[in-house]
Symmetry: C2
Subunit: 252 residues, 2 copies
């Protein structure tokens, strides 16, 4: 009898397994995201371990607020990370006119502040951050997003933009190494720390300069998607020296 | 007499110093590159150590060849590095039509293959590299650039593009960790190594995947501009864990 049950169970499991659909963890790669597989294994395009289709998790919406004179690696590092984490990323600027990153890369924003979709995560970046921080219309728009945003993040001097919107008030934060003193002056009610790769304080994550945005984004993915997901993304990006948790998480 | 000579020398040096003009090492930052200073010190915008105007070195021309479906960090990392090294970077694609990086970032190329200026350094990147590698017109154009190019560099699967143009023949090279075997098949006359952050073989530098492009670009800057320049850029980018020379330089 035991044997008959075992055979029946094996048959059922086989039938279940054969009906199973596997997908590549979403990475916004045009060659990957539309493929399905009938067996587990690795994606032949990007090499990521396939997951069961029903394991696909709700895509988080992320707003990248860009402006003319933005630092290219500030946003490209987190863009790579959030993309591999399967997020829906919206590229937003004040208008949809072309802007220039790093003085040389012309970028066409997908949305303006008139039609940008709501976001779970709202991120600002460094460079000529005054373009955004000193624009009352932009700051007012960012403030209007506060109620619906779950996490705010800034990279480098993007902290000055969140700061201007009041989002960093009474928070412990960090920024680009050369802007620590200026941020202290700009935010007398905040605690601005130097020599931290990132600082997470509640739902606000601020990072040090430029490349530190990669670490901040990986930390946020680790928090929202789990350690294994973040490790897999770091490996995919060959960001070999990533040290999970190499930042300050403020305990309340 | 000695004292008189000393005073005269001091006066001359003071006069020379007061006539001296200092500039920020070029970083393509619109707020930095047009500023001049009469005293040594740090740039108030980006914090880089000011250099004497006459120490400004000939700007190297770098061609970034982009295509639709390109991986964003593949090119953004080196763009940040070469930008801080003061290079003239041209963003080139087959046409000047908008392309999409990482599936979400719309980029407007500055030049097409019809009008791209000559370059000292020619760089290709990974992603949907077939778009470029399988386009005979693009490959023919890249081949036409060989005589005037001093250095070729590829990031990630950008190696398949240089490979298709014959630039990697009989060279020792590397690529994205998941594409090592495929590159071996594509380039039977080359030696394709795994587990190398970058490989430099003569005037060809190939890197591992995605974030390894930052290391490759820093290595090339170190080679062309010296160790101190590369260290200064890594520090500026807060790429703290950069290990200079962490790659293979093939000795002939």
């Amino acid at each position: 009898m035991k044997r008959i049950i075992s055979i029946a169970l094996f048959t059922m499991l086989t039938a279940f397994a054969s009906a199973q659909t596997y997908v590549c963890p979403p990475c916004n790669g045009p060659s990957c995201d539309t493929l399905t597989f009938t067996q587990p294994g690795k994606c032949p395009h990007c090499g990521m371990k396939l997951i069961k289709k029903e394991e696909e998790i709700k895509k988080l919406n992320v707003c990248f607020y860009l402006y003319d004179g933005i630092e290219v690696l500030d946003f490209a590092g987190p863009l790579e990370v959030f993309s591999y984490a399967g997020c829906n990323i919206s590229i937003v600027s004040k208008t949809t006119d072309p802007l220039r990153a790093q003085g040389v890369l012309k970028v066409l924003p997908t949305y303006s502040i008139e039609n940008a979709p709501p976001a779970d995560i709202f991120v600002t970046f460094g460079g000529n951050d005054d373009v955004a921080a000193n624009d009352p219309e932009v700051i007012k728009w960012i403030q209007s997003r506060i109620p619906d945003t779950k996490y705010f993040m800034s990279v480098c001097t993007g902290a000055f933009i969140l700061g201007k919107a009041g989002i960093l008030d009474h928070k412990t934060v960090t920024t680009f190494h050369n802007s620590i003193e200026n941020l202290r002056k700009a935010l007398p009610n905040s605690t601005v720390l130097a020599d931290k790769r990132f600082v997470e304080d509640g739902n606000v994550l601020t990072t040090a300069g430029i490349s530190a945005g990669i670490d901040g984004a990986l930390h946020l993915v680790e928090k929202l998607r789990g350690h294994d997901a973040a490790i897999q993304i770091a490996k995919q990006m060959e960001y070999d020296k990533w040290v999970p948790g190499e930042g300050l998480v403020v305990k309340k």
